[in-house]
């Protein structure tokens, strides 16, 4: 059923060719990008290791690099998945959670918690605290964005502009509150907020793996429903999908995914957009069964590739996010301008 409904909407292959196209035809971009990602991963692990391979130090370095690799993997998966899902829920391909200020919202909720409860409340480390904080973020995001995307406010540009400005506003409030924190509280907060790829915290990895893994399985099981949701509100309701519930579920999942990604490496506004746009460029069809793996592979390849090239070719490992922001920002402008011209 899904393969009939998910006919590409934008002049991609026509219905018959799509139906006739072989499994291989749809799968090879995914496999190619995955292979590319694996090459970069191997490169990051082994290239330029200062210690000879037969000494024990070699494996210590490889192990520490594995942590970075794991961080990258989870950020790539969660950003890619979050963006594709968000596009499904909002039924367009320009809005992404980060551009709409989800990241900034996460930073804001974290800051607000430390601001209200002080360093003592936040020093209760561990899973319960992380869960509580994520719950607050999820609640806030569902209310706010649920309100923005419900009912009559369907003007795409208005939503986008409101989201962008909300993001700026969240940023201002967070910075304002951070200024008001005591130094010890600020330390607690910044330890929670500002990760980076080079120093990913191995403690978070199992936790992130569990969350992202569970969401991935959940989404995969519901991929056909999401195919229907992506056709838009009216069609989806007509086909018997509980549209409101599905959209709300997606928004919650997106909020969780974004908070995982931001906790691991900090906000990246245009990364998700870059990944999703490339995905739609290379995907043969429109089904989630195809888009999700491809988006994850592209996200991995982009982030791993950027890390590898910057670390080993330009010796500027700290700039990965900046470069991706730059490329993604330009791509966003191009897409926006082309949409505007039509």
């Amino acid at each position: 059923m899904a393969s009939i409904i998910t006919v590409p909407s934008s002049g991609l292959p026509a219905l018959e060719t799509y139906a006739k196209s072989s499994w291989w035809h749809r799968a090879w971009p995914i496999l190619a990008v995955t292979a590319l990602a694996l090459v970069f991963a191997a490169g990051i692990l082994s290239y330029g290791n200062p210690v000879p391979i037969d000494s024990p130090g070699y494996w210590i370095i490889v192990q520490s690099r594995l942590t970075a690799l794991g961080t990258i993997a989870f950020v790539a998966v969660s950003q890619a998945l979050a963006t594709v899902l968000f596009h499904t829920a909002t039924n367009n391909r320009i809005l992404t959670p980060s551009i709409l200020g989800f990241d900034a919202l996460y930073v804001l909720t974290q800051t607000a918690l430390v601001f209200v409860f002080g360093a003592s409340a936040s020093s209760l480390e561990g899973i319960p605290k992380i869960l509580a904080q994520s719950a607050l973020m999820v609640l806030f995001a569902t209310l706010l964005y649920g309100w923005l995307f419900s009912g009559k406010r369907q003007n795409l540009h208005l939503l986008l502009l409101v989201g962008v400005v909300l993001g700026i506003g969240f940023g201002s409030v967070s910075t304002l509150m951070q200024r008001l924190l005591t130094p010890s509280e600020f330390d607690v907060l910044s330890a929670r907020l500002f990760g980076s790829i080079s120093k990913g915290n191995p403690e978070y990895l199992p936790f992130a793996a569990a969350i992202v893994g569970a969401i991935l399985v959940f989404v995969w099981l519901r991929r056909r429903t999401y195919d229907v949701v992506s056709l838009g509100r009216d069609v989806a309701i007509g086909l018997g999908v509980n549209y409101r519930r599905e959209v709300r579920t997606i928004l919650i999942l997106v909020a969780v995914l974004v908070s995982v990604a931001v906790t691991m490496v900090g906000p990246m506004t245009f990364f998700g957009f870059l990944v999703a746009t490339l995905t739609y460029q290379f995907a043969r069809g429109d089904s989630h069964a195809e888009k999700i793996p491809l988006a994850i592979a592209i996200g991995m390849a982009t982030l791993l590739g950027a890390t590898f090239v910057l670390k080993h070719v330009f010796a500027a490992a700290g700039l990965v996010t900046v470069i991706i922001e730059f490329a993604g920002g330009i791509l966003f402008l191009v897409v926006l301008l082309r949409k505007g011209m039509r």
Partner: protein, 327 residues
């Protein structure tokens, strides 16, 4: 041009009511007095207090006046020139270009004085603003909302480039301090260059009518005998100078030029030249209030005015957007 000016003359009814403006001037003046009076050091305590007023308090207050008036009026100019209510130096990426210019001039021409840096920053701001308008001209369907969106994204891309360059030269931390809009460091000897923007504000007042006509669009403006290009370029140049100079002296002051003109025209309607003094006063009032809040909220420390402005500006901006959508 004189005939044109007389046709756009404000109706006599407006001229007679001088007292609202006078009241507004009084309110702003009392805000400024408050700004001078507020501070950690008790200026009435000893002899040094009197001297301190002239070293920091008065320069700071003057800087607030100059920056507030210039950014608010240049926001109005940009809104006329782009025919869009949601455009100002912040939402067109112009300030980000100025920041890039400042960074490059600090890196490549370290011997350049403050004035030289401002010239470079203003030139970059001009290029950025023109690029923005060029892009707008190429977009056929420019809905009200897509225009500021393009500007904000353009600004994000430019500021990613700035961050990249700063990171290469280990200037990231300095970058944060430079561009954090704040009047904390404004003292005697460090603000005087801001008088340049007073000239900008004055020129905006003089060109107001022509800019209004240019705001009707190229065809209309040309058909009533206006040199459209000349006004477009000089208006953009004024905006660029205001953006460049304020970025160099005080840093980013987000959304100021957007919020003030919109509120003024919501209250008073769309008569540009009659609104100009109100816009200038409103800009001064908003910056001063935000600065006072920033100074009082965590005494004896300070919150940079840009954060307060960013918060206030975002709230007002979104309210305006949603209101407009409903109406």
């Amino acid at each position: 041009m004189s005939t044109l000016a007389s046709t756009v003359e404000e109706p006599p009814r407006l001229k007679q009511r001088w007292w609202p403006l006078a009241t507004a001037i009084l309110v702003v003046a009392s805000l400024l007095v408050a700004s001078i009076a507020i501070g950690v050091y008790d200026i009435t305590a000893d002899d040094f207090g009197g001297e301190l007023v002239w070293i920091t308090r008065v320069p700071r207050t003057l800087a607030l006046v100059l920056a507030g008036a210039a950014l608010a009026t240049s926001g109005l100019v940009m809104q006329m020139l782009t025919q869009n209510r949601f455009v100002d130096a912040t939402t067109s990426g112009t300030t980000e270009w100025a920041a890039l210019g400042l960074l490059l001039s600090a890196l490549l021409l370290p011997d350049l004085g403050l004035v030289g840096k401002m010239v470079v920053a203003s030139c970059f701001a001009f290029v950025g603003a023109m690029l923005f308008m060029l892009i707008l001209n190429r977009v056929v369907i420019r809905t009200t909302l897509v225009v500021p969106l393009i500007g904000i994204m353009l600004g994000a891309v430019v500021s990613a480039a700035t961050t990249f360059i700063a990171a290469q030269f280990n200037l990231l931390q300095m970058l944060g301090t430079w561009f954090m809009g704040s009047f904390t460091a404004v003292t005697r000897g460090r603000y005087e260059v801001l008088w340049v923007v007073a000239i900008v504000t004055l020129l905006v007042f003089l060109l107001a009518d022509r800019i209004t006509v240019a705001g009707l669009g190229k065809d209309v403006a040309t058909s009533v005998g206006l040199n459209y290009r000349a006004i477009l370029y000089s208006g953009t140049a004024l905006v660029a100078i205001a953006a460049g100079v304020t970025v160099v002296v005080v840093g980013f002051l987000p959304l100021l030029g957007l919020v003030v003109p919109n509120i003024v025209s919501m209250i008073r309607g769309d008569h540009v030249r009659a609104n100009l003094p109100w816009v200038a006063l409103g800009g001064i009032a908003l910056v001063t209030v935000c600065d006072i809040i920033g100074r009082v909220i965590i005494r004896p420390f300070e919150v940079p005015v840009s954060m307060v402005l960013g918060l206030v500006g975002a709230v007002v901006f979104i309210t305006l957007l949603l209101r407009r959508q409903r109406g």
